[in-house]
């Protein structure tokens, strides 16, 4: 029966489903590998800095030396990241802030060199099988 009441109910259901989808995408937590290793994307090579501090969305920073890889969690689709480049004595030499989006599980590795080198997206193929 196509009447107002049923139309309203179907509409409500659609709204709920869309809301559910929003909750899912914006609330889903992803495991991210944070990489400070040399990487090659689309022909361009990106080199790592000697010592960097990476903080996502204003959270706890991770310290990575050249060749390090760490792991952390981020929630949702859009993120900010702050990378501080440090010298041997631990002082901040350079700061870089940027935004990126979560792409997918296959590309769940964040490459700091890629972000610092200006690549289109710092999310690269993750070696982890999941």
């Amino acid at each position: 029966m196509i009447n107002r009441r049923n139309g309203f109910r179907v509409g409500l259901l659609v709204v709920l489903v869309l809301f559910g989808m929003y909750l899912y995408t914006s609330g889903k937590q992803h495991q991210v590998l944070v990489d400070n290793m040399p990487i090659e994307l689309e022909g361009k090579a990106y080199a790592p800095e000697a010592l960097i501090r990476v903080a996502f969305n204003g959270g706890e920073p991770l310290e990575l030396a050249s060749g390090d890889r760490d792991v952390t969690h981020i929630v949702g689709p859009r993120h900010t990241v702050k990378i501080e480049v440090l010298n041997e004595s631990g002082d901040v030499v350079n700061t870089l802030e940027g935004e990126f989006r979560w792409v997918g599980r296959k590309k769940s590795m964040f490459s700091a060199p890629a972000l610092m080198g200006g690549a289109p997206s710092p999310m690269v193929d993750s070696p982890v099988e999941e």
């Binding site: 709920l16 809301f19 559910g20 909750l23 899912y24 914006s26 609330g27 889903k28 937590q29 992803h30 929630v75």
Partner: protein
């Protein structure tokens, strides 16, 4: 109608509030015995109020509708847990995770509530025993689903949730991602204490809902059915349907209540959490002075505080008194069940007395 003397008024007050009074007396003895400090107890009670009030509040509506204590609230709790399991698997965190869990669990809770209501309609006069057994029965089905179906029929991606044999959910699930998500939604601290303001706000909203609901037509219908099913039916109220609606509402609310409970604790005992939810909520409500046919919002809060006070204090009191903490723990189980037995007995006794009095007056004796 004769005027009541002060003595009669006091007697009446004592009898109708017998259970909470007994409890207060017992607590007065046990608290100093246990050695807990007042600040610790107050803090614990604040937490437990936040954690449990919603579940206990969900029991009010079936009582108003004359269906007694809804032991079938465990069905709602199970629905909530299924929602949480799925959301944990999908790694959705924070408040969004809770909302998603609630959204998924609601249709399940509605379905289960409908089954419960329909079964109870076929067992009029025996609602409480029937809902009690129904709780066990659905618990069996829940276990079938969660222990065998999840992992095999329902794909579970997160290996941490699954038992080592490859299917079936583990007994203890860590809800770290959603822990305190509702509690600390509005972050307020008093000294070093984190206050679960979010949950308190939700509970307050729920209380307002109950007050508003009582005034709606549906609420009034339920009240009428609670007082006299025959008269309500003759007045044109769809008795069967309304009773089912009452149970569905209660089940869905129990579902949310369980989600709130679990987000406060942070771990879910997949096969045990819901069991105790029902038992403790009912005990708390009765301790607060509610009966099988009457329950008010103050009953809920008084009951939660008194029940949990005893709960926290008994093991240590038992240890001081008898030298074994184990005795205290059994004592608290004994008191929980005993209090339900006493409340039910008092209520039934009072009802019988009223019936006899009515019969006697019909026969013409003054």
């Amino acid at each position: 109608m004769k005027a009541y003397t002060t003595k009669e008024k006091i007697q009446h007050f004592l009898i109708s509030n017998a259970v909470p009074i007994i409890f207060i007396l017992m607590s007065a003895v046990a608290i100093p015995l246990s050695g807990f400090s007042a600040t610790y107890l107050v803090q614990e009670m604040l937490i437990r109020l936040a954690r449990n009030s919603f579940l206990v509040l969900s029991l009010i509506i079936p009582i108003v509708a004359g269906m007694g204590l809804n032991f079938g609230m465990v069905l709602g709790a199970m629905a909530g847990q299924i929602g949480l399991i799925l959301v944990s698997d999908w790694a959705v965190v924070g408040m969004r995770g809770l909302l998603l869990a609630a959204m998924i669990a609601t249709p399940i809770a509605i379905g289960l509530g409908y089954v419960c209501g329909a079964v109870l309609n076929r067992a009029k006069g025996r609602e409480m025993v029937t809902s009690y057994i129904l709780g066990f029965f659905v618990n069996g089905i829940y276990q079938l689903t969660v222990l065998y179906g999840f992992g095999k029929l329902v794909p579970i991606g997160n290996a941490e949730l699954v038992l080592s044999r490859g299917y079936g959910i583990r007994n203890a699930i860590n809800l770290a991602g959603m822990r305190h998500a509702l509690d600390y939604l509005v972050p307020i601290k008093i000294g070093t204490l984190n206050v679960p303001v979010g949950t308190y706000l939700t509970i307050a909203l729920f209380c307002l809902f109950i007050v508003w609901f009582r005034r709606t037509k549906l609420g009034q219908d339920m009240r009428a059915i609670g007082q006299d099913m025959g008269v309500a039916g003759a007045a044109g109220i769809p008795v069967e349907k309304t009773r089912i609606i009452a149970i569905i509402i209660s089940t869905v609310l129990a579902c949310y209540g369980q989600i709130i409970f679990l987000q406060n604790i942070g771990t879910m005992n997949t096969y045990n959490s819901h069991d105790q939810a029902g038992m403790f909520a009912i005990a708390a409500l009765l301790i607060g002075g509610a009966t099988v046919s009457k329950a008010t919002i103050p009953n809920v809060f008084v009951g939660v505080v008194l029940f949990h006070l005893m709960f926290v204090v008994s093991p240590m009191a038992g240890k001081q008194l008898m030298g074994q903490a184990q005795i205290g723990e059994y004592f608290r189980v004994f008191v929980s069940y005993g209090i339900i037995a006493i409340s039910l007995a008092l209520h039934a006794w009072k009802r019988q007395k009223d019936r006899e009095r009515a019969r006697r007056s019909l026969r013409g004796e003054a």
